[in-house]
Subunit: 233 residues, 2 copies
DNA sequence: CGGCCGTGTGACGATTCTGTTACAGTTTGG
DNA sequence: CCAAACTGTAACAGAATCGTCACACGGCCG
């Protein structure tokens, strides 16, 4: 979809106008398109609606902690694939580890040189633009772009909910392999307890409905689970 | 439900009898074999001598701290490869990070739901078992891929029910060896009582029917049981 | 040769599993 | 703040699967 020659869009989240200006200026000089947010709520909203290619996130934010924002971004299917680089004044090890565990891609301690920041951003974007595993799937008439949260069947766009999308990706990650309802619950619902395995069935059904002609490749293996299969039924 | 035909053995380390009962009961229900230890010393000893497939370790232990036990388990060559899942009442980030740094594979905060615990255990064990042998079988015109739940005879796909599939895999796991009906009942039906041995005959028959030309390798040994045999009848 | 034991075969309820629909509780977006 | 969308459950019907039985067949023994 998007070639590397196109401008990458970066969302910068910080509450200090000075930092914001410094960062956006330097990123602009380096050829990036920037958007800004001053607090966590705004960041979440813009991340969802604009789907930037990368997010620069300050740890210190009013109201909501940067780590909290990070966690929420990771949880939302629409934004979970966007790489996040953290900015922080507190350069303690704990912060770093916690940040990375929560899904941040990298970490830049303040004060940072604009040059270093741009380098890190470039490096991270190159990683994304090169075919990272799990970046995009193509299977029969079905195409899935994970980072754009986009699914097409025979070129026609299909709108999936966050859960449906995750479920689809999980199945596509191991094409041909049967995955039990328990397995899918674990991977898609991530240990959320007290969820019935029958719930998987319902979401499979909704998925099939939306996938149309591509649904015939989504097999039920009775007594075992579900799978995508290239074989004819 | 079943991840592999082999029962995984799990060592549960906790000093509270109630927790111990709860955990072992649920793991047993899920088809795991459990062993218990009430303190760090016992845990280390049993881990060394029994080499369980996974260790569930409570952070709070009398005398020796769970973290200390974890560290020692990691240091010992005999136990260093065994995955450890930590249980802890203190859900603080620090505990988690320290635990993971010391080599724990995962972490379950108390109070946990039995369901979540079992899911995490299964996930971890699947990771260990995924590279295990017995993933696929090939025998004459017969090919079986366990994780794809796919059987072909001379390249033609054959649809088996879950029970038939298990039965076939059991027989293929010991090619040439006769397996009694009782043995097959135990392995395929997993200790479900009150099942007639003649039931095996019926499933063998259905299996033969579906296997077509490959069925001639599935021998009846009169008065003993069944086996797959490369010999000609 | 004939009876007995073990096995193959077909049929038949009973059970389990899945697809589908409907609905209530939440969340999202305007 | 309301409407729409999303999500998890419950309920039900149809279908697939399962376990058992009765009977037929065929070897093995005397």
């Amino acid at each position: 979809m998007q070639t590397s020659s196109m401008k990458n869009r970066i969302l910068v989240v910080d509450d200090e106008p000075d930092v914001l200006d410094l960062v956006t200026y330097n990123l602009g000089q380096a050829g990036f398109q920037t958007d800004t947010a001053a607090d966590g709520a705004e960041a979440l909203r813009k991340a969802r609606s604009n789907t930037p290619d990368l997010i620069l996130l300050d740890l210190m934010l009013p109201e909501m902690d940067g780590l909290e924002v990070c966690k929420l971004l990771r949880r939302d299917a629409k934004t979970s694939a966007i790489p996040i680089i953290m900015l922080t004044a507190r350069a303690s090890e704990i912060d770093r580890i916690v940040g990375l565990e929560l899904g941040a891609a990298d970490y830049v301690p303040k004060p940072f040189s604009p040059r270093e920041l741009v380098l890190r951003v470039k490096k991270r974007l190159e990683q994304s633009n090169s075919a990272a595993p799990g970046h995009a799937y193509s299977f029969g008439p079905l195409q899935v772009d994970v980072s754009r949260h986009l699914v097409t069947v025979r070129g026609r766009r299909v709108d999936l909910t966050a859960t449906e999308f995750k479920l689809l990706v999980m199945l596509l990650q191991r094409i041909g392999h049967v995955q039990s309802r328990d397995q899918l619950l674990r991977d898609v619902w991530e240990y959320e307890t007290n969820i019935d395995t029958r719930t998987v069935d319902t979401h499979i059904r909704r998925l099939r409905e939306k996938l149309g002609v591509a649904a015939k490749y989504l097999d039920t293996v009775r007594g075992v689970g579900y799978r995508f299969s290239p074989e004819m039924p």
